[in-house]
């Protein structure tokens, strides 16, 4: 490659890109320039068109109008194959890995010549590449045994192994924990310094400020502007994205009640592989209190949340709601006891093909039956009311799969909050949501706290935990290793506890309960 020229010629230039889906204009005359050796953020609310633009660049969609230039050459990209041939790689929100195969096999998959594959040789080459690029992965490990963060590294390695000079990352940090985010950023900075161009999609402004060189903001399919990170700040970016000012959620001081509404008593649970993932966890959440549960992903939070939403039975121990023991593994009993559940994976708590209205009543169908038949009128009215009350952008009869992440989360929130539950078990409530929707969801949680609900907030987003929690429990390898008050917690201290490093230093037993 002619390096003297590549410094001035953009790595990618997209001009006048238009993309329509039915009546939605997802990209409206978008111009986008990616320079060599820069990390360029794409910002915008849910549905702004970020993913669409990048899918066009990667050949997954075809623009209705517009042109793409790669390193100064006009390019026709009709498939990911074309994109890869031009040095463009993409790591999508849903990974395209084959779980039973090893890392090395996944990396070379589709990138082999001939029929025979020398697996040992492949492993050596992948290991060499990983070392050269300083992406820590074990080429011999099976992908199904890897954490989300590790899988992501495999995806990145796969793209780079195929010679990507442009790497597109669509919300890569949405699934990562703070430590993994830091590691990813360090890798990306190194790769940038060696000449790679990166497109980085994220909803988190502080990440953009910390990592990126330039930012392009999209709103409703159009470019609002491209700015250099050095010359902007978070508020300006937020205003560009939303078109108005965003205030952080205010959390009025408010003493917690005395009644313990949710008590976990030496609760243990196994994960899908049968290993003990939650180990004798004891916690108490009082009325009017948000207890944040912080931890690096894979330390038992998912299993704990599932025990409390009824989709996983406990191995031993008890769950008490307002003093009454509730059987685990039974969603109906947990709901009846007064637990409202916002699960980690939105898509597994709604039936994609059913309508918004049907999903809103699915948990309490018996209340919508008249003379043995569904009272469809009432179901519709119910949905219309919640849609209005929670400002959901959807119609009652829309299949819920057509909703954006933010709106789907609002449906789930509406369905739960409408019943004024005593206890809320909330897992990763703002994962993948834009600033506006995040603000909305957090505001609702604070509202519930004011109302007197006991809230267990399980989140891998430390900012979220720190912003909302009255007390913070830290989980590490299934154990609660510390419980701090909101005031004494700060990111460094939490980070230390979450990594297990502080386990011996703070040898005193978990304070309080």
């Amino acid at each position: 490659m002619d390096t003297s020229r590549s410094a001035s010629v953009p790595a990618v230039e997209m001009r006048g890109i238009v993309k329509r889906f039915q009546d939605v204009v997802a990209n409206d005359r978008v111009d986008f320039t990616l320079l060599p050796g820069e990390i360029h953020a794409l910002l915008g609310e849910n549905g702004a068109g970020k993913t669409t633009l990048m899918r066009i660049l990667y050949g997954l969609y075809h623009a209705d109008q517009g042109e793409i230039w790669v390193r100064g050459q006009p390019a026709t990209i009709r498939s990911p194959k074309d994109a890869i041939a031009r040095g463009i790689g993409m790591v999508t929100q849903h990974f395209a890995l084959v779980p039973p195969l090893t890392v090395a096999e996944n990396v070379i998959l589709g990138h082999t010549s001939g029929i025979r594959v020398d697996l040992a040789e492949a492993r050596r080459r992948v290991a060499a590449a990983a070392q050269r690029l300083r992406i820590p992965v074990d080429p011999g490990a099976r992908v199904r045994d890897l954490s989300v963060g590790e899988r992501q590294r495999v995806e990145i390695l796969k793209a780079l192994y195929r010679g990507a000079q442009v790497l597109i990352l669509d919300e890569p940090t949405a699934v990562l924990v703070p430590q993994e985010v830091e590691a990813l950023f360090a890798s990306l900075r190194r790769l940038r310094d060696s000449g790679l161009s990166v497109v980085f999609i994220s909803h988190k402004l502080h990440e953009v400020m910390a990592l990126c060189d330039r930012v392009t903001v999209l709103r409703q399919g159009r470019v609002v502007g491209t700015v250099s990170v050095a010359e902007t700040d978070r508020n300006t970016l937020a205003r560009m994205m939303v078109g108005r000012l965003i205030q952080p959620v205010s959390r009025p001081a408010h003493p917690a009640g005395h009644r313990v509404l949710l008590r976990l008593d030496r609760l243990s649970a196994r994960d899908d592989r049968g290993l003990l993932a939650v180990k004798e966890v004891s916690l108490a959440v009082r009325a009017g209190e948000i207890l944040g549960l912080a931890g690096v992903s894979g330390n038992g939070q998912t299993e704990l949340a599932q025990v409390l939403d009824g989709t996983r039975p406990a191995e031993s121990g008890r769950v008490l709601v307002d003093g009454q023991e509730v059987p685990t593994g039974d969603p109906v009993a947990l709901m009846a006891a007064g637990i409202g559940r916002i699960p980690e994976d939105r898509h597994e708590s709604v039936v994609a093909e059913l309508t918004v209205a049907e999903n809103m009543v699915l948990e309490h169908l018996d209340e919508f039956v008249r003379n043995g038949t569904l009272d469809r009128e009432a179901i519709h009215r119910h949905a219309a009311r919640l849609i209005q009350q929670y400002q959901i952008r959807a119609r009652p009869e829309d299949p819920i799969r057509t909703l954006s992440g933010g709106n789907m989360q609002k449906v789930i929130l509406a369905r739960v909050l409408e019943r004024a539950p005593k206890v809320l078990v909330v897992a990763q409530p703002t994962r993948g949501l834009d600033v506006g929707a995040t603000e909305y969801v957090r505001g609702k949680l604070v509202e519930q706290r004011e109302r007197g609900a006991a809230i267990l907030l399980i989140s891998e987003d430390l900012d979220e935990i720190l912003e909302l929690s009255d007390r913070i429990a830290v989980i590490y390898e299934g154990h609660i290793v510390a419980i701090l008050s909101g005031e004494e917690a700060d990111p460094e201290r939490l980070g230390l506890l979450m990594s297990g490093a502080a386990l011996r230093a703070e040898a005193r037993p978990p304070g309080g309960m």
């Binding site: 075809h62 059913l354 049907e358």
Partner: protein, 353 residues
């Protein structure tokens, strides 16, 4: 210029047209075959589609042919909607026919108002029982029902064969054919001097009831939720196993009724050939009807028409009846391919990017 296919939902108005498109494509694809047997395809399709509907007798015959398909189609659809892949309607039909024979033989001297419901009930119960083992294995042990229900079809057929060559062998003719059931257990004819019998009304009634259950009751909504998203259904507190079991057993029961209906409405005695694959055709009907009961009714009637048409064609033009089978099979493949298109769009025009 070029044609591209991309993944995006097709506009809604296209969906009802897809089955029609499938029919059209099928005719185009099979035209060569029809010509190969030396017949003008347009003439053949005329006899296939139009001629059977032109005369009163043949039009009624279409309904007769559609009757078992309405039942097996409804049975399969009900299971599929609940997320249970019942490929065993054929075996359940044989079980139903066998039980209906056994009960029908006992109805000598019993009045019709009692004998006929007894025969239908026997068919239903036998179908349920035949569907029970694979359904339990699915729910309790997570053993794939596609394999087990399919395998049980052969078991049922061999069972019937054993019965007919053993205890039920016709003592006079020595044919593998059971004695005739009691006259009072035979379904009445709906129209004199045609073969249209009570089973047709029964099928229509069952389709209406199932439509109502699926679309208008809480159980139906739960069942759809289980079929479309079992994890989300479990999360919502729906008893997934119980729902799947119910869907599977009701499905088996209705397939059993199809057997009873063919026995008491058409054959009166059990024979090995009581079903030329109605249970399998029921899967075609369910798919063609896009898993909704109205569609199932239309699809069953349509296949009834093709079945009748195949005979008309062969009689009028002297082509083999098997041609009808080939066309039916082609139709299924084409329909399945065409139905995929609801998730894609075809675009013509300038390419960009």
């Amino acid at each position: 210029m070029g044609i591209r296919v991309e993944r995006a939902p097709a506009p809604l108005w296209i969906r009802p047209l897809l089955p029609l498109l499938a029919v059209l494509l099928t005719f185009v694809i099979t035209a060569g075959l029809v010509m190969a047997v030396g017949v003008n395809p347009f003439t053949a399709y005329y006899y296939f589609i139009v001629e059977p509907l032109a005369g009163r007798v043949s039009a009624i015959e279409v309904l007769v042919k559609a009757t078992p398909l309405l039942l097996t189609g409804a049975a399969v659809t009900f299971a599929f909607v609940g997320g249970y892949w019942n490929i065993g309607a054929e075996g359940q039909l044989y079980a139903g026919a066998t039980a209906a024979t056994a009960v029908g033989l006992l109805m000598e001297g019993v009045p019709s108002w009692l004998a006929i419901p007894a025969v239908v009930l026997a068919g239903f119960v036998a179908g349920v029982l035949w569907a029970l083992p694979p359904a339990l294995m699915k729910v309790k042990l997570a053993i794939d029902e596609v394999v087990t229900t399919l395998l049980l079809n052969s078991v049922a057929l061999f069972g019937v064969s054993a019965l007919l060559n053993g205890p039920w062998r016709n003592p006079i003719s020595q044919w593998p054919q059971s004695p005739e059931i009691a006259a009072s257990a035979i379904f009445p004819r709906l129209i004199p001097r045609t073969r249209l019998h009570l089973g047709f009304l029964l099928a229509i009634a069952i389709i209406l009831v199932l439509w109502f259950v699926i679309n208008r009751t809480a159980f139906g909504l739960r069942m759809r939720a289980v079929g479309l998203g079992p994890r989300a259904a479990r999360f919502a507190g729906i008893r997934v196993e119980r729902t799947v079991l119910t869907a599977a057993l009701v499905s088996g029961g209705i397939a059993g009724v199809a057997g009873a209906s063919q026995l008491a409405g058409i054959h009166y005695s059990l024979i090995e050939a009581i079903s030329p694959g109605y249970g399998y055709t029921g899967i075609i009907v369910a798919t063609l009807g896009t898993l909704n009961m109205v569609g199932v009714a239309l699809a069953a009637l349509f296949i009834g028409l093709i079945d009748t048409g195949a005979q008309t064609v062969s009689r009028a033009l002297g082509v083999p009846v098997y041609l009808g089978d080939v066309i039916q099979a082609t139709l299924l493949l084409v329909t399945l391919s065409v139905l995929l298109f609801q998730f894609y769009r075809i675009r013509w025009g300038r390419r960009a990017g």
